[in-house]
């Protein structure tokens, strides 16, 4: 009797010990994973940090041997140079103009088209919808030659209009608008129609206000995309004064050889607006990215 009791007891003890061991190893693995993730994150952000720090150093300090994690002096020479001795001001204005124009036109056009396809009955609706889905699959990069031909026929090469043009093809925003307008309950529509609301009123008073979040998210991501676009602005513009900032800083270099801090300072100024927009609107940006990948979040 006592013997059996003691064995069950032993068994229980052994099991408890085993469980404890498992919990212990669990925590160890978990801790290791957490530490690894944090270290990876630091390593990931380090190049950005290093770029910013270098841009703050005087050129002489930049090329000194050894790793200096903080600048010894902060003369900010490279920034005053970038701001006042390059065409960065003009490039900023060009980038801002083309990106804002792209965003505005894309959002208005997509909201209108998305609403019409989602809510209205008209001949050709299905064909248009299939065309949008089809254009979603077409690589804009394959059209660069013919976009260039088209814009040169209109004598628009080296203008901001040409830079904006092909960026207006954003079928994803139409698709997302359509999906969101689809999911607005029909009751709202019927109630408003009974009250004698016109289609435009329905769009501007009900459908758009109910989806302001989506509009913000899509506008932000369109703006970031337009600001960051490289290939087409690079092809469409060869005059320094008409360049976007992303193109300008890689195409125009001064005649005095490589100046690391200056180059980095101009690059950081070019990336600053989108970085700030992202940090302010993090949630909207992530939402828009998931939506454009086909994940409704």
């Amino acid at each position: 009797m006592s013997a059996t009791l003691s064995t069950t007891n032993d068994l229980g003890l052994a099991m408890a010990a085993q469980r404890q061991r498992r919990i212990k190893t669990f925590d160890l693995v978990g801790l290791f994973a957490t530490i690894a993730t944090v270290i990876a994150a630091i390593l990931w952000a380090f190049p950005l940090y290093w770029g910013v720090v270098t841009s703050l150093k005087p050129e002489a300090e930049v090329v000194r041997a050894g790793v200096q994690l903080l600048p010894a002096h902060w003369p900010l020479d490279s920034y005053t140079y970038a701001l006042f001795d390059t065409k960065i001001g003009v490039w900023y204005i060009n980038s801002l103009t083309t990106s804002l124009a792209t965003t505005l036109i894309v959002v208005i056009m997509s909201a209108g088209a998305g609403y019409a396809i989602s809510q209205l009955n008209f001949p050709g609706r299905r064909i248009l919808w299939w065309m949008i889905l089809a254009s979603f699959m077409v690589p804009i990069q394959a059209l660069i030659v013919n976009h260039f031909i088209l814009f040169s026929q209109f004598h628009l090469i080296n203008t901001l209009t040409a830079v904006v043009g092909p960026q207006l093809l954003a079928p994803v925003t139409v698709i997302i608008y359509k999906q969101f307008f689809d999911s607005v309950p029909k009751d709202f529509r019927e109630a408003a129609v009974v009250d004698g609301a016109h289609e435009f009123q329905l769009l501007f008073r009900i459908y758009l206000p109910m989806n302001w979040g989506i509009t913000t998210a899509l506008a932000i991501i369109t703006f970031i995309g337009a600001w960051n676009n490289f290939l087409w602005p690079f092809l469409a513009v060869t005059e320094e004064d008409k360049m976007n900032i992303t193109v300008g800083i890689t195409q125009v270099s001064d005649a005095f050889g490589v100046k690391y801090a200056r180059d980095l300072a101009t690059a950081i100024l070019a990336g600053l607006p989108v970085a700030v927009v992202y940090l302010i609107f993090q949630r909207r940006v992530t939402q828009a990215i998931m939506l454009s990948a086909g994940i409704k979040g």
């Binding site: 950005l48 890689t250 690391y260 993090q282 992530t286």
Partner: protein
């Protein structure tokens, strides 16, 4: 009733007009024109004569076109698969964190994605710089103490370009994986751990199969994106052996814009167009399959 129907059509016309005009002018017309020009010997600007399938025969025989395709495939393999697997590992790690630590860690991985390619080019050009780059502290000892000009050393070019592309774009993949991981219900893990399933068993029996659809989605999105690679490779190869590292879009750029062979450029564009449409149809089917579930 008839009147309201007509007014509906008029409204639709007004709302669709900007879209139809822009897509007609900038999408339909250039696409048709691309097919047409690809069968001519046109220069970039101006008309050419119909020359049948000459351009495609030339592409077939052109060693630069073949090597551009190989370079593109090489870049895709080097960037897409590591980028996807690493993103899954990072997402699992980030998903374990909570609150503000998670936000900060996620922002570290995501911030590069938001930046323009020019910034990525400058930062990595500086870090990998032959004379003063930080990376030389790691690279030089591996090379017997001599500094290496990474982007002028042919075997290192594509791996380096792929490496910084993974660094640049991984935030996007991480984001999709985190969304996928959050969709897996906690109860499944709890039930599994009650049954005594260890960490590895939980990953291989629960996480991996349930995250697989997201993995396929990420893989196809990245594949389609990287087939169109131009920016980084162009920027880093400037002044070097451009042809040796040429990709498909670079080939189009070279033929059409630098050599003034509009017809040949359009033909190469048509090839790229068809390749990407095939993969996109695949992706679309995957998304539809997901949607129906």
């Amino acid at each position: 009733m008839l009147k309201s129907k007509r007014s509906e059509a008029v409204t639709a016309l007004v709302l669709m007009a900007p879209f139809v005009i822009i897509y007609g002018l900038l999408f339909v017309y250039p696409t048709i024109k691309m097919v047409q020009v690809s069968f001519t010997d046109a220069p970039l600007i101006g008309d050419g004569n119909f020359n049948g399938i000459d351009n495609f025969v030339r592409l077939w025989k052109d060693r630069l076109f073949a090597s551009s395709i190989w370079n593109t495939i090489y870049f895709v393999v080097l960037s897409v698969f590591p980028g996807t697997l690493l993103a899954l590992a990072i997402a699992i790690g980030v998903n374990r964190l909570k609150g503000w630590t998670q936000s900060i860690v996620l922002a570290c991985f995501f911030l590069p994605y938001i930046l323009p390619v020019s910034v990525v080019y400058r930062i990595w050009g500086w870090i990998l710089d032959k004379d003063f780059g930080l990376a030389q502290y790691v690279i030089a000892p591996l090379n017997g103490g001599d500094h290496v000009n990474v982007f002028r050393t042919l075997p290192l070019f594509m791996p380096a370009a792929a490496f910084l592309t993974v660094w640049w774009l991984i935030g996007f993949n991480v984001l999709l994986f985190i969304a996928g991981l959050r969709n897996i219900s906690r109860e499944i893990y709890e039930a599994a751990s009650l049954d005594g399933a260890g960490r590895w068993a939980q990953f291989s029996r629960i996480t991996w199969p349930l995250i697989w659809p997201v993995t396929v989605l990420v893989l196809t999105i990245q594949l389609i994106l990287q087939l169109k690679i131009f920016d980084q490779v162009y920027l880093f190869s400037r002044g070097g052996r451009v042809d040796a590292t040429s990709t498909m879009v670079q080939y189009i750029y070279k033929q059409a814009f630098q050599s003034n062979h509009g017809g040949l450029g359009a033909a190469a564009s048509l090839v790229l167009f068809l390749v990407i449409v095939i993969f996109s149809v695949l992706q679309f089917q995957l998304l539809r399959a997901r949607g129906q579930k």
